[in-house]
């Protein structure tokens, strides 16, 4: 008796797909599909633009020019000006706090 019930239950599970009807599509399926296609197209265009030889050459040249500028500029301009600025800074500090050389022996 018990085996018969178990067999029936197993058969019910096995045949449970019988009479299944297709599920309804999510709403606006086509619109969402088009939106996704457009999004993927835009992303591809952006990637292609970044990989264009002209864009790559210009970017590389810009980096090289900036490097050269940074290498050349400090040696030509900022070297002496820093020293003079440093000197005036010390002098004005000494003056303000009355730390001139003579002040020690006073």
């Amino acid at each position: 008796m018990k085996t018969e019930t178990t067999k029936k239950a197993a058969e019910a599970i096995f045949n449970s797909f019988d009479g299944i009807v297709p599920a309804a599509l999510p709403p606006f399926f086509y619109s969402r599909l088009l939106a996704r296609m457009q999004r993927e197209k835009d992303e591809t265009v952006a990637t292609i633009f970044l990989l264009r030889p002209a864009f790559l050459t210009i970017s590389l040249s810009l980096v090289l020019v900036l490097n050269v500028l940074f290498l050349v500029q400090p040696a030509g301009k900022s070297g002496p000006s820093t020293v003079s600025a440093g000197k005036t800074g010390i002098e004005s500090f000494a003056k303000a706090y009355n730390l001139g050389t003579t002040a020690v022996y006073e």
């Binding site: 599970i13 599920a23 399926f29 599909l33």
Partner: protein, 187 residues
């Protein structure tokens, strides 16, 4: 419009032809993906991917098979890939949870309730869906296409690139395995 004409228009990037193709196959593709993946959101994503691939690679379509067979093939390949990726992610999540400090339990997917089922069969069908998931990929494909989509052995053979006898053998093995699993669960 014949299938050949539709394919020809798709090859020329005709938007109206694409809309017609989607209207013709959207329900089949979505339902096949839903039966495979047992998740509405995943099924919609895969259905979209199928149509995007059809749009981009229609030039590669040789008329050796029907358009329907070709679309089914793309859909099943994508579903199997998706299942494989999901399993890999789950395995990785399990391994990382072993090494993490937090003792978090892994989230197990809830039972799938197909929206097209009669109410009195939902519970049994959820058990059967779970068991179908444990079948090898080709047995699962043959079983779902035959049992739910109602495709003939010849159509399944064309989709899976198998002979009718091979499909028959796959189905027999799938049914055997399922009966065994059901009997194990209900001793």
């Amino acid at each position: 419009m014949s299938e050949q004409e539709l394919v020809e228009q798709l090859r020329h990037g005709d938007e109206e032809a694409f809309k017609k193709l989607v209207t013709l196959f959207q329900e089949k593709v979505f339902n096949t993906a839903l039966n495979f993946l047992q998740n509405q959101q995943d099924a919609e994503d895969i259905a979209q991917e199928v149509f995007i691939q059809v749009y981009h690679s229609v030039s590669l379509f040789k008329s050796n098979s029907t358009l329907s067979t070709w679309i089914y093939r793309i859909c099943i390949t994508k579903c199997l890939d998706h299942t494989r990726n999901k399993k890999r992610k789950k395995r990785f999540a399990f391994i990382s949870s072993l090494f993490s400090e937090k003792n978090v339990l892994l989230h197990e997917a809830p039972d799938f309730n197909h929206p097209g089922l009669q109410l009195d069969r939902k519970e049994d069908a959820a058990i059967l869906f779970k068991m179908v998931n444990s079948l090898p990929g080709n047995q699962k494909t043959a079983f779902l296409l035959n049992k739910i989509d109602g495709l003939s052995y010849m159509e399944i053979g064309a989709i899976m690139k198998l002979s009718e006898s091979a499909v028959d053998s796959l189905l027999q093995r799938a049914k055997q395995n399922l009966r065994k699993k059901i009997n194990e669960q209900k001793p």
